[in-house]
Structure formats: C-alpha cells, structure tokens
Assembly symmetry: C2
Homo-oligomer: 507 residues x 2
C-alpha cells in the first residue's frame, strides 16, 4: 500500500480481500454440504484434504499481513470516520479476529480442519457401531487442539471463555453458570409440576407410522408456508440436520425422516427453516463485509427455536394445519383432533436424544453438555471417561440413563466437528426466542390469529426488520437490548413454559 | 529454494504445490457439478463469482514463480535423472503448460471463467426461449477471448491449433482436415448405401413412452453391470449430461431422461459410464502428479464411445439384456424381439441434435462444428452469422435443416463453456474406440460371448490395464501406437461401420 492510494482504493482493496475469503468459505461450505448429503462413500476422505486446503487458505488470508496492513490503514482516523457503519463494524471485527487467531500456526489449523472433517465420518460409523473406542483418539486430538487454541487466543477467567466467544461474543462461563443455573431450576420446577399432575396425555400418535414420501411433502409445504425461499435454497436429507448459508441466495437446509417418529422431520424441518430464513435475509450489501452474518450463534438459534416451538408447537399453528395434515395422512391416521395433536407434540418425557427431546427438557440436554465441555477444556475430566460421565450426568440432570453410547455420548456430531463452545448457544437461543416473541407481540397484537391463519408474512417481516437485516452490526447482547430494552433474560422463556404446560398438563 | 534443499525436499515441495492446485480444481469441479444438478435457481450467479476466484487461483499457482522455480530446479540433470518416469513426464507437462499459459493475464483469465460460467446459464435460458440474440454477445466475448488466447500461447499453422492442443496434444487442423475428410467420405458412402437399401426397419419403439422412474432403475443397473463403481461415484440428472472426476474416488456422471425417447438416457448413461470408469481407474499415485488424467480428451471419448456403441448398441449386449429389459417394461412394451430392439437402436436417420444422433451420422455433426469452429477462430466467419451458417452446413453435411435455433446452433452447451477445440475429440474418440476394439479382440478372443453374458469384468480390466492406469504418461498418439502398433487411423472405424450396417440394412 503506498501513500497515493485514495480512500476508495483502500476500501476496494479491503472489499476484494473479504470477497476472496468469502468465496473460499462458500466453496468449503459447499463441500461440507456435499459430504453430508450426496458425496459417494469413498470420496469423502480425499474431500477432507481438499476442504483442509481451502479452509486453511481462507484462514491464512484472514490473518495475513495484507489483511493486517489494510485494516491498519483503514483504522486511521481520516479513513475510518468517513466509512459507513457497516465497514467500521466490519473492520473492528476483523481486527479482533486477527489479533486473536494469527497466533494459531497455519499448519496446525490445517491439520485441525482435516481432522474434524475426517472425525465426522469416523463418528458416523462409530455411532452406527456403538463403538466409542474408535472415536476416542479423534476426540482426544480435537479436545487437545481446543485447549491449545484457548491458550493461544487468550481469555480472562475460564479457558472455555475463549471458545464460547467464537460463537457468542462476550459470553462467559461466569455468566452462563448464573443463567443456566436459573434456567435449570426453573425447568426442573415445571417438570416436577408435570410429574405431579394427574393429567395423562393421549399417546396414540406414538404408534403411527407415516410414509417418508408424505413426510417429505409435508416438510416442503411447511417450509414454503413459513416463508423459506426455495429459489434460494433446497431441502435434503442428512444424518444430522443442518442449515448452511453458502450465500444469501443459496441457503440449504437438511432434515431426517423416521417413519415411526414423524416429529423428527416435522420439527427438524421447521427448525432448520428458521435458521434458513435468517441466512436468506442477510442483506447482500452486508454480506460483502465481515458483518454479513448472524448476530451470534445463539441469536441464530433463537430463529430456529422460535419457528419450531413458539410457532410450530402452538395450538394456533395446528388449528391452521390440521385439515391439510389429516388429508395427507388419511390412510395412516383416523379421526385426529386438534387437542390430541397438540398434546402429542407437547408430551413431556425425559429422553435420551437431544434432537428428539421435548421442548421442556431440551435445555437440560444442553446444560449437561455445557457442564461436560467446560470441564473437558480445563482438564478436570478426560475424554476416555466421557461415556461414564455422560451417563451419570444424564441421570443427575435429566433423570434417566442411556442403555449404550449410541444414545449416550455418541449421539451428536458436534464434538466430532470440533464445535466446543457451541452447545450453550442452543439454550441461549431458547431464551432469546421468547424475549423476541414478547417484543413481537407488542407490535403484532394479532400474533395468535396470524398463526392460526398461517399468515406468516408479517411475522417473518418483523424478524427480518428487527433481526435478519441487521446482520452482525450488533452483537446478540446489543441487539436484544435494542429490540427489547433489556439484556439476556431467562424470565420470558420460563414464564412461556409455565403458561404452556399449565394449560396442557392442567397443574 | 536454497542450496541445502535435498532432492527429496524439492520433490515434496513440487508434490505439495500440485496437490494444492488439485484441491482447488476439485472444489471448482464440485461447484460445476452442483450448478448443473442441485444448486437453487438464484444461487448460481454468485456461485459463478466464487468459481471464478477459485479457478483463477488454481491457474495462478500453475504459472506462478514458485512453480517455475521448482520446475527449473527439478529439471536439472542431477535431479531429473533420479526421478521416476511419472514425475519426469509430469514436470515436462507442467513446463509446457507454464511456458504457454503464463502469457495470459490473470485478470483476463478470471473474467473468462466467470463469463463462461454465466454464459452457460444464459445459454440454458436462450435455448429454452429459442433466442440466439441474448446469447450472442456472450458467445462473441468467448470467441474473442479464444482468438486472443491462441495468439498469446502461440501456434504453428492455423490459430485453431493452439486451442485443439489443450485437449488433444499435438493434433492440428492440418491433420484433422485429412482425417475428417476421409471419415466424412466413408460415412457418406455408407449413408448412400443405406438410403439405397430396400430394407425398412421396424419403428414401433419410437412411439412407446417409458416411465422415467423405470428408466432410472435401468440406467443404474447398466452402470453397475459394466463396472462403474457407485462407492466412488453417483448418477444424477442434468440438462447436458456430463462426467466429472473430482478425484478417482469421486467421479460423478449425469444423464437426461425423456419419457418419449428412452435412447437418450440409455445410451447417454452408458456413454458417461465409460468416461466415469476411465476417471475412476486413474491410479491414485498418478493422480498426485500432473499426469494423473486421461491421455487426451479424444482418448477419454474412446472409452465412452466404446461402451456406448461397440458394446451398448451391439446385438450381443441386447441378447444379454433383453430378458431384464422386457420384464422391467412389461406394462409398456409387448412382445419385444431381439431383432426389433437391435434394429431400433441402430436406425440411421439424419437428425438435428448431435446427442440424439444415430451412430453413423454422429461424426458428421462433429465435422460440422469443427468446420465452423476453425473458421470462427481465424475470423473467416462471425458469431452473428452462426445461426444461418449452421443451418446451411447442416443441409450440406447432414442433408437436413433445423426449424429453429433451439435445434440448430443453440443445441449444445460447449461454446457457452468456452470449449473451443474440444469438438474434434468427439470424432477422434470414435476412431480410437475401434482401434482399441481391434487390439482388445486379439487378447480377448471371446469378446462377443463376454458381452452376451454381460461378463464385462475382463473387458473393463483390459481397458484399465492398457488405457486407464497409464493416465497421461503417454499422449493419445503415443498410447495408441503402444497398444495397436499404429497411429490414429480411420480404417478400423469405417470397416466396423460398414460391417455393422451391411448386416442391419442388408446392403
């Protein structure tokens, strides 16, 4: 960079660099999607290597001297003050990223990307075979890398803070311990009331089988209804459902069909649809900066949990859907009532698998992982003891014990993917979702009627305006304050749960 | 590179550089596949940009100072003589590539990748709408780039030679004019005999409709039979069928189903399967060099044409397949005889669309393009006149005239993809395929019986040994000489055609 470069030259150089990084990430994202959906069996291992190369190059660019120089130049007052907010925020974010992550040696970064990519294939097989031992050495390496990374990037307080911050800026073990403590007590309180309730819910639907083909039709129909745009996305199947935003015009979701448990695909699809709509509505002009992503992973989760639970598990939603649903499955289900369906999808029953958990106990699964994760990262517990510790924690927090590792420690892909620090955001999403719902209801006072009529456009519109189109211009904490007037709070969520289950379980 | 580097260091550096380039190309390949199969409608335009970035980076690396330096060092006698043949060949090939292509400015290269990626979407729409005008400016830019590229990389004789050489090393307009002249006369001679024959073939099968679902089953079954490995590949649908080898463990083919014309999918699938098996059987140790690809595009085509025509359109093949075929389509086709099927799939009838052409007139379509292409490149004709010229040439070479541009100049994606110099290889593939067949029959004297019994493993094995596993250690010209004892020849192909149609048309 020399003195002659104009303000505009600098900005264009910066935009060019970001766009190149984005292109690499887009391709890496496509490779991830492909490996989870259509890649042939034997192709995955070599793909991991290619993915490693590409992710590493993107990472290198993000911490390169070129990036450092341009960020320094653009940070100078004469330039910085002239920039629109989106660039100012983008530059600040990139500087923070660079300061932290340039300390990670690139070869270690590359090894880690390849490792976690391969570990996901190993995990898939290990889960199938109920074989933790095969997976263990991979997980040990992954934990080890995360421990070293925490040290390298630095943290205050608990080492796990360094990892959470990647997903939820500013969140700490100290804050989570308080928040999750309150949440756990609240949920367990409601759980006790349910256990003591004499109301038993009708479980007839537990024994119906619904054809996968028809479930697919339903999944697509619902995605269209809530406003997921198929011109900018698609729905496929994968072992672990996910959403991947390659760019706002290409946001793909996946789901998983179980003939004998239709709740998996139904709520899984709505859940990913919520994520998908967030990604589809990030403005293109933000997407070309480093703030063209969600406010945080927790805020992302607020969108999926909002559509899945607040909307999808409500009586109002099923009032609107029941006629279509009963027609579609007329051969499989006879004389279905609204009450029966609403009861069925809201049955509370502590269970083994997080992704199949009921709405109430779901957060307990997250708290369990959170407690294990932070102890793994600061070395209080070790990988080899995880199966045993998992089962003990399940007993302690949720009250039941897995019969094997497949429904225990091996149930989830996240650790294979190296996503330490990610789990807490699932529970934060629940909290944000109800904080947002309270604010939304003030603006859209006919919220319930809109849902009954499946008139989702105003709701989606509100989310776009308040959340999606803001991208990462604000952290989640800033955004939730801007929208609701207060920071992260457990209260709206607990009071929603209390009201909901009081009605269903009549306590 | 400093003096201390050992021979091994140098080689490892070279291998590392090649593997990085390969990873980029693999990702670009995946993006191509995705755009042609599953990418959502609106995602394609941004994907073109990402693809442009990635292909350009791969190109830059292939002509970079780092590459130049390592090639220079490894070319020094003390190193070069110690190297295994595969690296010697690889280095020579890379030097040739570098010497030619470093003259192309990288920004022009990038623009061209983006242009041809977008042009393919434009072409798709233009073909749908029978609208050449929309496509014309794109094609003009593409032709212009190819003209400039020919000048930059250099050539002897005709400028088109620079373009053919990318696909068929050492091939020239001068050689093709002779070869194609002989081929055209030979085919037209047989065509005349057919026209004068009093035998009329049964065309009942022209009016049957076969369900796409069942056609898919058949396509997969045949691919499995001939030895395409689904653990290292998959079959999908696309507007223009293609094969893409991301790496030997992930080689994907596509086909296109037409309910009212089952020959499209049937022979299209076998054709791509032939390409696919070539890619799947390139040895991994070669794949890590620059000679881990086919001997040439024409040799690649010899494999697809061999399986499609020599095997797939033979009486022996259908003797084996007929029972399964009639059972699968028992609701659609009544009392099908072997003779009827063999006649039907070998009907000779000049037609508009290359990919639907009969085996005999197919090469005439190629010669037509070749003649237009070389004149376009040396500026004798211009893009705006193409629709008219196309129709005139069709009349002259094939004897019929398209009713619109959709079945005329817009029928093919190749020009949109910028693949000037590629078309001749389709006809070269026909010639090579019969040269190989003659050699193969000397080793496998029970060739016809093997096909009748659908015992394809020995045939596939022969192709792997003689062709596939040799990768690009030899040019096509060298390889065909090694296998058959003589260079490119028209005779085996013409005598095969003569024998075949003599029997069918009884002339």
């Amino acid at each position: 960079m020399n003195e002659q470069k104009t303000h505009e030259d600098l900005l264009n150089y910066y935009i060019g660099l970001l766009s190149k990084i984005q292109h690499y990430r887009e391709m890496a994202g496509l490779a991830h999607w492909d490996m989870a959906t259509y890649a042939p069996k034997q192709g995955k291992s070599m793909r991991s290597e290619a993915l490693g190369t590409l992710s590493t190059e993107a990472f290198k660019m993000s911490v390169s001297p070129e990036m450092q120089n341009i960020l320094t130049e653009l940070s100078e007052e004469e330039h910085f003050n002239k920039l629109p907010e989106k660039y100012q925020r983008s530059i600040k974010k990139d500087i923070k990223h660079l300061d932290k992550f340039r300390k990670i040696p690139e070869d270690q970064y590359r090894d880690y990307v390849v490792l976690t990519s391969k570990a996901q294939n190993i995990w898939e097989k290990a889960k199938e075979d109920n074989d933790f031992e095969t997976f263990q050495p991979y997980l040990e390496k992954i934990v080890d890398f995360n421990q070293r990374m925490a040290k390298l990037v630095g943290y205050e307080g608990h080492p796990y803070n360094a990892l959470i911050d990647r997903f939820e800026e500013g969140m700490t073990v100290e804050k989570l311990d308080t928040t999750f403590g309150e949440l756990k007590r609240g949920i367990q309180g409601i759980l006790d009331k349910i256990k003591n309730s004499s109301k038993t819910l009708n479980k007839r639907l537990e024994s119906v089988n619904l054809s996968v083909e028809k479930q697919k039709i339903l999944s697509e129909k619902i995605l269209e209804k809530i406003g997921y745009d198929f011109e900018c996305g698609r729905l496929d199947e994968s072992v672990h459902p996910f959403t991947i935003g390659l760019n706002p015009k290409d946001v793909r979701v996946t789901t998983r069909y179980q003939e004998d448990f239709f709740k998996t695909a139904l709520f899984g699809t709505i859940h990913e649809g919520g994520h998908g709509m967030y990604e589809q509505n990030i403005p293109l002009e933000l997407f070309k900066t480093s703030v063209g992503s969600a406010a945080s992973t927790g805020m992302h989760e607020s969108q999926s949990r909002f559509w899945e639970n607040v909307v999808g598990r409500s009586e109002a939603f099923w009032k609107g859907l029941l006629p279509e649903f009963t027609e579609l499955f007329q051969d499989e289900i006879d004389k279905l009532t609204l009450e029966e369906m609403v009861d069925y999808i809201n049955i509370v029953e502590p269970s083994m698998i997080r992704v199949e958990a009921d709405e109430l106990t779901y957060s307990l699964h997250i708290i369990l992982r959170y407690e294990l994760e932070k102890d793994l990262i600061d070395g209080k517990i070790s990988v080899k003891d995880l199966p045993k510790l998992w089962n003990e924690k399940m007993k302690e927090v949720i009250g039941i014990e897995p019969k094997d590792n497949r429904e225990g420690v091996l149930q989830d892909v996240h650790w294979a993917g190296g996503m330490f620090g990610y789990f807490p955001t699932y529970a934060l999403g629940n909290l944000y979702s109800l904080q947002l719902t309270e604010a939304l209801k003030k603006d859209l006072t006919d919220f319930t009627t809109l849902i009954e009529n499946h008139n989702f456009a105003p709701i989606k519109g509100w989310m776009i305006e308040k959340v999606h189109q803001r991208g990462n211009l604000r952290t989640a904490e800033e955004l939730i304050k801007e929208i609701t007037g207060e920071g992260l709070s457990v209260k709206p969520y607990l009071s929603y749960l209390e009201d909901k289950y009081k009605k269903i379980y009549q306590f």
